[in-house]
């Protein structure tokens, strides 16, 4: 494809004119960059939330297209398959309803007994279901974007989990979407305890093990700890962000360092194929 001589002359004139604008443009660039660099954390969050709000409709569209493509590849289910799936879901629903009724009764009884002993009433938190619409594109961070935001009651630093265990916590929250920092990220730290022992430590992601097969670490354990591979790790509730008793993962191996013990933990939730999560809104402590 060729461009006409008149058009080319215009482009050349534009290029020559822009050479005279180099110094002013560099100065404007430096001033604007300086303004961005010195943004306060609060304003930075606002910029992040604003941009997340702009990009999230595109991510939602992309996510639904990806889902449609995946469904198409998996093929259409037959009537028999749907009937069988429906039947098993009905049974599961009945079991869960029965369990829920029992637990509701136990909660009422527990609250009554607590009040008679002058204990603080156990706080109840709500779960907001959310769908993961995108996974982080950066190399060293482990984040996902969900389709729920401020309008659904989601706020910063709220725990995110599934029925299998802990997923992470909310970070940047826009009006209708939010970023979740996964437990496999190095910056997401969870106070944890080892099942069947008095051992407590801090679960933290590892920067280089976050690709296709994330592994997290449980640090600050005592050197004398007797921890067997397969032991469950639960959140201890210390720190105030994550509720106590949520499953984090299972111990893969335990090694003793110079100062303390370190366990490698396999997350209970498969963080690479995760699709639906729950955000714990309200008081989770």
């Amino acid at each position: 494809m060729e461009i006409g001589p008149a058009r080319r002359r215009a482009c050349l004139a534009l290029l020559r004119m822009s050479r005279r604008l180099i110094i002013p443009s560099v100065l404007i660039f430096l001033v604007l960059t300086g303004m961005v660099l010195f943004l306060s954390p609060h304003n930075m969050r606002r910029v992040q939330a604003g941009f997340l709000g702009i990009i999230s409709p595109f991510l939602k569209t992309g996510s639904s297209m990806e889902k449609k493509y995946r469904d198409f590849r998996e093929g259409v289910k037959t009537l028999e398959q749907l009937e069988s799936e429906n039947q098993s879901l009905r049974v599961a629903n009945q079991v869960l309803s029965a369990q829920n009724q029992t637990l509701a009764g136990l909660r009422t009884e527990n609250d009554r007994l607590r009040s008679s002993l002058d204990y603080k009433k156990a706080s109840v938190f709500n779960l907001v279901p959310a769908r993961i619409i995108a996974r982080d594109a950066s190399t060293w961070y482990n984040k996902v974007v969900i389709d729920r935001g401020e309008a659904d009651g989601v706020q910063d630093d709220q725990p995110v989990l599934t029925d299998l265990g802990l997923v992470g916590k909310t970070a940047v929250v826009a009006q209708h979407s939010a970023t979740i920092v996964l437990i496999s990220d190095e910056t997401c730290r969870v106070a944890a305890k080892v099942e069947g022992t008095q051992e407590q430590g801090i679960v933290k992601g590892e920067r280089t093990s976050s690709g296709t097969n994330p592994v997290i670490g449980l640090n600050f354990l005592s050197k004398q700890a007797k921890i067997q591979p397969g032991a469950n790790i639960y959140s201890s509730g210390v720190g105030g962000v994550f509720p106590a008793g949520v499953l984090i993962g299972q111990v893969k191996d335990f090694e003793v360092g110079v100062l303390n013990g370190h366990a490698t933990v396999v997350p209970a939730v498969d963080l690479t194929t995760l699709e639906d999560v729950f955000v714990v809104v309200g008081d989770s402590k």
Partner: protein, 183 residues
């Protein structure tokens, strides 16, 4: 101006697409498309345009990736703007070759620059997170190198597509080509 806006939209779309490409098998590295568009922009646009593109690209990247840990900013928003501008200037230094229609150096250079972006990100995180330990194992190098290699392989297609787009809207990214006659 129209071409600048088109490049900006391309950068935004590249950023969206990046979210749907998972980590590469074996290396675990990510496919970074937005820097390729930015590097093409630094060749096809004059310096003010390149700086504007670096500013917008860096701001978009940081807005999505910068983290605040326990209320403190880990890496200040804006570092990517500086990095993109520096790499864009480096790329612009090879503009005479681009004017002569020689693209291979720029394709290789976009891979090197992509590696540098990933490496710079890693170094900044290392400096900011306690304790400062330079942990350069095989996996780190694979991630850095993998992103660069993908950029080298993809950049010819991107450069060709964007050049074609420029011609379609009547913008000549190589206007000096007609002035410089071969001896």
């Amino acid at each position: 101006m129209i071409f600048f806006v088109l490049l900006l939209i391309s950068m935004f779309l590249a950023l969206v697409v990046e979210y749907f490409i998972g980590p590469l098998p074996v290396t675990g590295s990510r496919v970074l498309l937005m820097p390729i568009v930015m590097f093409y922009g630094s060749l096809a646009l004059p310096v003010p345009g390149m700086l504007a593109l670096a500013f917008c690209g860096g701001l978009m990247w940081d807005a999505l990736n910068v983290q605040t840990v326990d209320g403190n900013v880990e890496i200040a928003m804006g570092w990517s703007i500086i990095l993109y501008a520096v790499l864009g200037t480096l790329m612009g230094g090879f503009r005479p070759l681009f004017q002569r229609g020689r693209w291979e150096v720029h394709c290789l250079l976009s891979g090197v620059c992509t590696c540098f972006i990933v490496l710079a990100e890693y170094l900044m995180i290392t400096f900011r997170r306690e304790p400062v330990v330079f942990h350069f194992d095989r996996e780190v190098w694979l991630r850095i190198g993998g992103s660069g290699l993908v950029a080298v392989l993809l950049s010819p297609f991107f450069f060709f597509a964007l050049n074609y787009l420029a011609f379609l809207i009547g913008y000549d990214p190589q206007p000096e080509r007609a002035v410089r006659r071969p001896r």
